[in-house]
Symmetry: none
Subunit: 188 residues, 4 copies
Amino acid sequence: MESKECLLSIAAEEFAEKGYFKATISTIVKRAGFTQPTFYLYFTSKEHIYSELVQSFQEKLEQLTVDSRLEPELNTDSLPERITKSLSAILQFFADHPHLTKIGFYESEEATNIKQSMVDQIRENLIFEQQNNYFSGQLNMELVAQVLVGAIERLTITKLFSNEATAVGLAKEIVDFFLYGMVPRETK
Amino acid sequence: MESKECLLSIAAEEFAEKGYFKATISTIVKRAGFTQPTFYLYFTSKEHIYSELVQSFQEKLEQLTVDSRLEPELNTDSLPERITKSLSAILQFFADHPHLTKIGFYESEEATNIKQSMVDQIRENLIFEQQNNYFSGQLNMELVAQVLVGAIERLTITKLFSNEATAVGLAKEIVDFFLYGMVPRETK
Amino acid sequence: MESKECLLSIAAEEFAEKGYFKATISTIVKRAGFTQPTFYLYFTSKEHIYSELVQSFQEKLEQLTVDSRLEPELNTDSLPERITKSLSAILQFFADHPHLTKIGFYESEEATNIKQSMVDQIRENLIFEQQNNYFSGQLNMELVAQVLVGAIERLTITKLFSNEATAVGLAKEIVDFFLYGMVPRETK
Amino acid sequence: MESKECLLSIAAEEFAEKGYFKATISTIVKRAGFTQPTFYLYFTSKEHIYSELVQSFQEKLEQLTVDSRLEPELNTDSLPERITKSLSAILQFFADHPHLTKIGFYESEEATNIKQSMVDQIRENLIFEQQNNYFSGQLNMELVAQVLVGAIERLTITKLFSNEATAVGLAKEIVDFFLYGMVPRETK
DNA sequence: GATGAATGAGGGTTCATTCAT
DNA sequence: CATGAATGAACCCTCATTCAT
């Protein structure tokens, strides 16, 4: 089974760097030290291995949001701290798996759906907290969630993949900005 | 010269719907009522017509940000109003040219650069206003600009292209959120 | 009718430089300052204009050998001198019309036939002189004629077209070599 | 590797008969019993296989001239006999490989260079013998070499390829003519 | 578990040539 | 006399995919 892992890993690199169409099976197997028929021992088609990578990304990403929901009860952190931790975990995952992220979050046709799932999840979480009067009651949480995902998308590719920022640092900055906005508070 | 416009328009549609690689010259010319050689009367290659579309998008987008800078002096609007109008103009342009936007802002390899240009422009504008003490002095304007572009990206594709929101409405919501954030002001 | 001459002349250049297949009607007319349909006002096809150039070469070449036959009676030159003059005239013609020569004598499919015609003509002339006991009676004049044409072919392209030699100088050298060969005469 | 040889051989035929441009990959593979992609398993392009054929011709030709130089010392033949043998070997090679010869010596763009290489080689050999006072000291050996190559060119295509003469017979005739020229010796 | 050898299907591109004006 | 606009016909080449071994 090691051959399959090897192919998956190299395919991820190729797809991430060149995109689905410019990446070729021929190059992938050559880099893996195999010949073309070997590829079809493990995957039924080019599309299939790509899907497998996308799905792998999707599953890990979902696991992450599931995990972030397990703790709430026994968590003594404040809400902003908890949000920051969740966001940080996502960003860290992206930073740790740049190829998979490039494919699943940017290139693939599924990217739009994956982002929308993320939006849905985040929105529901926010609405829940909104009912606890933590956030302004008039806030459109669908919008907030969309903006947050947009922020993640941009900042991952510009700051995280270039190593200009860390997951934790970025998460803090984002949350701070989202909470208080641009206009300074008068009380301060 | 009408044939060229026709080809450009249909090509934009094809590229937007199918992406660069799945779109074929063959289909484009067929839909335009021509044969293949006609295509090469007006464009030197598939890559070329794609570039032309991307560039066209880029130029119009830049024109928009240039225009939004001409008025400031003779403008009696408040800053938030002015920002909203600029943002609204961009969103309106995206809504009016969905194919071009799909290509230049989402699909093309240049998309990343185009977004970064937008970020740079916005950041500089924000820094200028920051010096006028309108915004919190500690704000990282690069981050804000990135988030704004991320927001535009997401909301254009989910709300604008699906006609779930108008450019103006969206612009207002975005600006409102960016200015005041999620935590309600005590003074209110 | 000047347009036709212009096209012929430029076509000769293009065909000579690039060969029949790499030369394009498109380039020829462009260089002549015309558009493509104009070409078909004067020539029925690409093949046709090429044939016309080949034929033009062939006719001029034949005229030359005809001319060289008119004088004999009233000519007081010795045979070697007469041969040298004929050869010189041919070489001079080639030097004066390099494009036409390149096409008709080297590139075209007719080149082989044209050379064979030349061989036939020369052979007959030589046989005639042979009967006058000027040349060795055992000499195979077909061979001599072939060698002479081969010599012309090589020396035209290497010495004449590069201006390393003149038609007259070359003719003298060739004739001298053909008459006496490589082994020095004992009587000398 | 048999497929490659097969393709090379058929390609040689096609190129020899039709020339580079009129020959098509499509016909070559069809005649070989393959489909088009198979061609690209063994050659990177049409140009490439053509070069391979030209180079193959060039190498074999050079080998021939190298071989003809190895023997001199232990050779009891007279100079004319040795020259005849070398020439004969070349002509035999041409007769044995008409397709390759057609391509490398007549059609290809390299033909001019290949002939010039031959001229250079022959010239140097002749100059060496000239210093041994075998040949007239005033002879321009560059000219002689050019004429010899011209003779080979013409006679190969007219006498050898048509089977009107054998390599050996032709070589003898050529050498005899080159040595003694056209004017009969007085001593006879 | 792996491969050498081959192909089906299709895409981009070029060029001589024509028709209506 | 000349052209703007268009095309028919090919050709080279690529790539995912398969089959027999």
